[in-house]
Subunit: 395 residues, 2 copies
């Protein structure tokens, strides 16, 4: 039978990242490809204790819940956000299946086919796929190491009338970049001036390498709480299997997203939500985040020191100030997709950078994840990778 | 700020059922409104044991998983479906956040604005909302107690060229109806003749009151496995808080839905999926389903006996053969929305039937859920309801 799918499905692609994950999950390959947190330091004992508390609380814990999410969890999230300076209210918080669902629900309620969405370049691959699946025209704003270029940003807002601007201002995926304060304020000012919404994706903000530095979420700068829709997740700070993220923002927007979520899946797992509530109440999550951050910093420095072994000028990268990724650019003739095949043969994997670009893909870039592999494995993988990178026959 | 949502959001409504749930969850009201399973017989001890096994299996159980879902769970679901005569393969099974997400993802990949979707009348309210949110023209096929009317079905398929047909053939929500074999076969034959897809929603099929009777899922009759997309869930047979459903069907369709799910939420909670796998492996789920079915039958008979106290001819209903709902029709002047306000004042709630209709709503209908309230509470609620129904001043 010939299945006539909706026309927009022509834009669907399977995520390159996840497809590579599938291959490298098997066998001997050391993968720096996936955006995976460190399994070896998951707080599994404390997670188990939290689930025990759910079941001890009685049968009603297993009944249907509200689409908005478990209220005590929303209250706990509000308190955590307040510590970062983000004002919110439990009624303006929606619990989701990871922050991926926030990107999808927000796009669903906002994008009409043909609408323009502005992004950084490169940016989170799956977000690009979502925006395009709803028919958005995604346009990249020129960016440098500090954020979006103010002139190009103003010009594109002014001429393209975007529906919203999607940014990951802190320890970005894929390129580990962090916006400076000036660029953050500039984005907010322009969005106030032109009345444009911002979707601020902040999954990595907690994983900070230099505790003395401060990076204000855009949601803090949005003083009237009218222009920023902010999303984050516990996938990186607790464990991914929980699949628990959230969104906060203008009430009208969050309520519309709640209606969309009701149609999408009624509500996310409420066993997980309740467990997470007990975890936030009784477990030292901030201590755990500090521990992760120190460990990820260590792993990043190991990776960095290997990269420093490469011939100066052949590859360039910036040391990230947090998060889980390094972004490397080779010389202009390098094709990292070809390189990946060679790397996998040698037992190591990364993600080619091209799919993360909105406009002209740079085929000489790739992303490395430093959080997943424990130090010894990381060293072994980097031995292999440096070997591949140093061997010109490879390319 | 003025938020310019996508135009299709004009079709969004908050579900009447869930809004009523919100009101009646508080206080003294005995609610027959929500589609809630019986909390008092949740197998909470066995659920807890299953989660313990997840955490005992080690840290990798808390890592990201595949969009398709936890493979051993998909294998276990395949085995369970085989017992019902449904042929499948783990590769053609996608695990979702409840079967609501199946309805949404299937609609997302199939419906182009203006496409016709055929349904029963009345039918599942939230499915109607989903179809309309994607721009579908929903059209009802004439139905009687045995299923869709073959002539009207043929005529509507022939003239309207529907994208798919949505049905709940066994113990339906809202009206508790069960299609006979002839009508099932007729639907399959027509869909083969005209090459139309069927979305078979089967959340209640396990909850059967007369074990000697047989109701073949349409997926069994779809011998070439080309025309039926079948969905079910563990929300009713195990516990709702797990939010674990699944879909199986033609590989091409399930794969497209998997791509949509990847964009939607990457994957559903994998802690829940693993726990469910251990539960299916080690717990006597079939014994539990038998226990639930007997208990729900008992509760249904209590409700039925109360309804029998009403003046003959004033209200009509059919005794359901399974599931969780009774559907009652009053005389033509009755308005059950007005009646609901009076009922809530008296401490009992139901769902007015009108929103479940596709075409002309019958304002004299309402739905009662008999599964949620334990017998004593059920009797107290029915005392109140009969009192409201017998008092003509009420209406």
């Amino acid at each position: 039978m010939n299945y006539s799918f909706a026309p927009h499905t022509k834009n669907y692609e399977s995520s390159a990242v996840r497809d590579i994950l599938k291959v490298t999950q098997q066998g001997h390959v050391i993968s720096f490809a996936g955006g995976l947190p460190a399994e070896d330091i998951f707080p599994i004992e404390d997670v188990k204790i939290a689930y025990d508390k759910v079941f001890a609380s009685g049968n009603s814990s297993l009944q249907y819940g509200l689409t908005e999410g478990f209220l005590p969890l929303r209250e706990a999230i509000q308190s955590r956000m307040e510590l970062k300076g983000i004002s919110s209210h439990p009624e303006n918080i929606l619990i989701t299946t990871g922050s991926q669902q926030v990107i999808d629900l927000f796009s669903r309620v906002m994008i009409a086919p043909g609408d323009v969405v502005l992004t950084e370049d490169p940016t989170y691959l799956s977000a690009l796929q979502v925006f395009r699946s709803y028919g958005a025209q995604v346009t990249a704003v020129k960016s440098d190491d500090h954020g979006m270029d103010p002139e190009d940003l103003r010009q594109k807002i002014d001429t393209l009338n975007p529906k919203f601007i999607y940014v990951i201002p802190t320890f970005s995926n894929p390129d580990g970049k962090t916006w400076n304060q000036e660029r953050r304020q500039c984005l907010i000012n322009l969005c106030y001036e032109y009345n444009v919404l911002i979707l601020e994706d902040d999954p990595y903000g907690d994983i900070q390498f230099h505790p003395d530095e401060q990076y204000q979420p855009l949601a803090v700068l949005d003083e009237e709480q009218t222009h920023v829709v902010y999303t984050s997740t516990f996938s990186k700070s607790v464990v991914p299997a929980l699949r628990t993220g959230w969104v906060t923002g203008p009430q009208e927007v969050v309520q519309m997203m709640t209606k969309a979520k009701q149609m999408n899946d009624l509500h996310s797992s409420s066993i997980d939500q309740q467990a997470l509530y007990y975890l936030l109440r009784d477990f030292d999550l901030n201590g755990h985040i500090e521990r992760i951050s120190k460990e990820y910093y260590l792993r990043m420095t190991i990776m960095r020191d290997y990269l420093n072994k490469l011939e100066p000028g052949l590859f360039t990268w910036k040391e990230p100030k947090g998060g889980m990724f390094m972004w490397i650019e080779g010389n202009e003739t390098l094709n990292t997709t070809a390189l990946l095949h060679k790397a996998v043969e040698k037992g190591v994997a990364f993600v080619p950078g091209a799919p993360f670009y909105v406009n002209q893909p740079k085929h000489n870039t790739f992303r490395l994840n430093f959080s997943h592999s424990a130090p010894e494995k990381l060293k072994l993988g980097m031995d292999r990778l440096v070997d591949v990178l140093l061997n010109p026959a490879v390319v």
